[in-house]
């Protein structure tokens, strides 16, 4: 009987796995070049041929940055689905003040577990891998490199990720096979002493998976930096001509380099505390404060690890549909670097209410306010790029503009939180939740959607369904703003974060937030359906320049590569070999 509440999750997980499996087999059909057992090579619709084996083997053995980019993106979308399902379960529960919807499945405990996995999944398994997916596919093309600097490490870094995810989600599906471990209910911040004393081996299993996933990110960052610095063709792409997305990936790599090992080390200490009797975070040792310092020394840069590349994506995409170059390109680069450096000096703004030294809080407040300046510089650059431009409201453009809108709300609400007196009132309320959801979904998510639509023709050779993309955009921006503004209002009212139940006075805005969440969900369903269908049956792209970029002289390297590839394919009647690839890579 104890298992039966978990049954729902077994079904959900099973469905999820089926979707993945189905997707993979479809993908195989869609890009298989070799008839099984046959010696010849069939019609080739994408990249690859003799360089890669056929079928599933190709995907398991690939060291090609483009294939790994696709795998990263697929993985990110699957994680997005799990993160979204958990969010919706929580939102439905929060429609009414009491514990009702989840009551028969595990009640408050399940809510806390959902809360934890939602946060961790969206940050570490959706946003970061999807960024890495686009970076994998595009950065080597943008910098005119043959591949990533370390192709095999690239593959190792990717494969670690789904395996780590199995352990990170194990607390939800292991109970179904009779191994009754408790899923982690620590929240994504893993604050000690809660996380160091919480019962249940599910916490340890989660921490082990989390630990493993950190290596993936760090390897990826080293690879991107080495690719941009050492594999870049310094003749065709000197530093002065490096595109903005690569700049942000480079800065992100620098942040990961110093932030992620700190997290990995802190998680190691936490595991030792839990299992081997060390005292790193015990009362007499480092205590709760040491964890918070280490965690946020990682955690604040993590915010910029996640938001800088999306800023780069928008800086890259926005000008393409405004018919002119990015306004103040240099300032966008400089502000990226400035944010990168400052981001290591602001971590304690997450700790204003812990009773730390007031002189320290004042200096952290000052730097936190200062970091708003380079972010504002970017916003003004985007707006001036749009100003008097010839705007073309394609799906990538809509999402880029939506990004700017959401980023302004998310950013301005954040500046207030950086001020100590305001933070003392708003700490741990829904105001904070509303603020960072505007950034994480409203900005980061939107930029990733923009990139998905923008590069869809390159990655699949087909066009997405424009009507569905518009539905996706409008449902997302309307639903997102309803939900997250309702959260801001709840915060003003004093609604605390992380609770499964609440006082009846908050019910109205919670109900509004849930309605908004459903609207967003329809948008996301439109998105996933669109990507799935269009990748297989979408209209074939009929030129190397589907966005008409040549007109405004913005036909950048990745599109040139794509056009070259298409020409070779046509010339060869659908086949290409290494020599031809060589000539088109050179153009």
């Amino acid at each position: 009987m104890a298992v039966s509440p978990e049954l729902v999750f077994s079904v959900l997980m099973g469905l999820l796995l089926l979707v993945v499996a189905g997707w993979l087999t479809r993908l195989e059909d869609w890009q298989a070049y070799t008839p099984v057992g046959g010696g010849g090579y069939g019609e080739s619709t994408g990249h690859g041929h003799e360089e890669k084996p056929a079928g599933l083997t190709r995907w398991l053995t690939t060291v090609d940055h483009k294939d790994l980019g696709i795998l990263y993106s697929l993985f990110g979308i699957v994680a997005f689905a799990w993160g979204g399902i958990t969010a919706m379960l929580m939102r439905v529960e929060l429609t009414t003040p009491g514990m009702d919807f989840l009551a028969s499945f595990g009640g408050v405990g399940l809510y806390n577990a959902l809360l934890t996995t939602h946060g961790i999944t969206m940050l570490f398994l959706f946003a970061a891998p999807l960024i890495f997916g686009f970076a994998n596919y595009m950065v080597p093309l943008l910098v005119d490199a043959d591949d990533m600097a370390f192709p095999r490490i690239n593959a190792i870094a990717f494969w670690i990720l789904p395996f780590a995810t199995i352990l990170m989600w194990a607390g939800f599906f292991l109970p179904l096979v009779g191994i009754d471990i408790q899923a982690a209910k620590t929240s994504w911040t893993l604050y000690t002493p809660l996380s160091s004393t919480m019962q249940g081996t599910g916490v340890d299993v989660f921490l082990l998976g989390f630990h493993l996933s950190g290596f993936s990110t760090t390897m990826g960052a080293i690879n991107f930096i080495a690719t941009i610095v050492a594999e870049r063709d310094s003749v065709s792409v000197p530093w002065s001509k490096l595109d903005i997305f690569s700049w942000t990936i480079l800065t992100q790599g620098g942040l990961i380099l110093f932030a992620f090992p700190i997290l990995t080390a802190a998680v190691t200490m936490l595991l030792l505390d839990r299992n081997f009797g060390t005292m790193f975070f015990a009362g007499e040792g480092g205590g709760a404060m040491l964890w918070q310092h280490l965690f946020w020394f990682f955690g604040h840069p993590e915010v910029y690890i996640l938001v800088l590349p999306p800023m780069g994506l928008v800086s890259l995409i926005l000008p393409k549909f405004a018919g002119r170059k990015l306004f103040g390109f240099k300032f966008v680069v400089y502000s990226t670097l400035a944010i990168g450096i400052l981001s290591f000096g602001v971590w304690a703004h997450h700790m204003f209410t812990t009773g730390m030294n007031p002189r320290l809080t004042a200096s952290f407040m000052a730097i936190s306010l200062a970091i708003g300046i380079p972010s504002a510089v970017k916003v003004f650059n985007w707006i001036t790029t749009l100003w008097n431009g010839k705007l073309r409201m394609t799906a990538p453009m809509l999402f880029s503009v939506g990004f700017v809108q959401n980023f302004i709300i998310g950013g301005v609400t954040g500046v207030f939180l950086a001020a100590v007196p305001f933070d003392l009132v708003m700490q741990d309320t829904y105001y904070v939740v509303g603020h960072f959801h505007f950034i994480v979904f409203g900005a980061i998510g939107f930029a990733l959607f923009a990139a998905m639509y923008y590069w869809f023709p390159i990655m699949t050779g087909r066009m997405y369904d424009r009507r569905l993309a518009l539905w996706h955009f409008w449902l997302s921006i309307i639903g997102g703003n309803i939900t997250f503004i309702a959260m801001l209002i709840l915060g003003y009212g004093g609604m605390p974060r992380r609770y499964a139940t609440y006082l009846p006075q908050f019910m109205t805005w919670h109900a509004v937030a849930t309605v908004g969440a459903f609207i967003m969900t329809f948008g996301v369903v439109a998105f996933i359906w669109n990507i799935w269908q269009s990748a297989q049956y979408g209209k074939r792209v009929d030129s190397g320049d589907p966005w008409n970029l040549k007109q405004s002289d913005q036909f950048t390297n990745e599109w040139q590569w794509y056009e070259g590839k298409r020409q070779t394919m046509l010339a060869d009647g659908g086949e290409e070999d290494a020599d031809d690839a060589e000539s088109n890579a050179a153009d």
Partner: protein
Amino acid sequence: MATEESEDHGHFLPAVRDWPRGYGEASWWPFVTAIGLLVVYTGASLYVIGRGTDLVSSSIGLGAFAAGWAVTVLGMFGWIYQAFIVDFWDRGSHNGGSSLRLGMLLFLGTDIATFGAGFAYYFFIRAGGWHTEYLPESGILTSVLVINTVLLVVSSFTIHWAEGQLQKGNHQGFIQGLLVTFLLGVVFIGGQIYEYYEFIVHEGFTLTSGVFASAFFGLTGIHGLHVSFGVLLLGILLVRGLRGQYDADRHVSVTTVSWYWHFVDAIWLFLVAVVYIGSVFGTEFSPF
């Protein structure tokens, strides 16, 4: 020649002779390595579950943990062999090894952060006051510490000397210098095991002996793992050197491993100054 050209401007195929054979961009080794790591972490999970519940036995977890490492190491050897060793003289040096050099520097950067977190803990507890009872009874400064420190510093010089010999074209001298460095590393690890044995068995100073023990075993432990990994890398250099690889122009992995070795040495000196010697000073006066 042709390889150099095609690497610069053509379509570079990174895995021509790899398994599965006959393709340019396919290799099983990354997947094998990742599977190994999955088994390692699953083993650790089973171990923890076994200790906390009676669902599985902890020894199954430990077995899986060990087996996982075997697979991981196999995968990494496959990868290193295919990427760097096979066809060493024919393949030419891809962009002069600058990616590899940069990659090692970046990795060392991440390592500074890793050690930084451990030292942050140590400074945190130092700031909170200091007591003699944190330390093992007969003191932390032993003769093993002195010997080990000397060994590691000397090994930094020997690897530097070996590099110099390679530059001068003295391949035999290079091998000898490398061998001495390797042996010094092995003896260092032996010394550390002996030191741990003395503390744990004779002094009763273990991982659970309080706030200093956490810092001591945490930091020396992670450093010891780094030395062990370094010895493994030196062993690979040695085998490759004995098979006739490396010369004055082709020695990227010698350079990167030597950087790694100097780095591990530098961390050790900092660790000795701060954790070993610093802990004794703290018992007499607290600067905080």
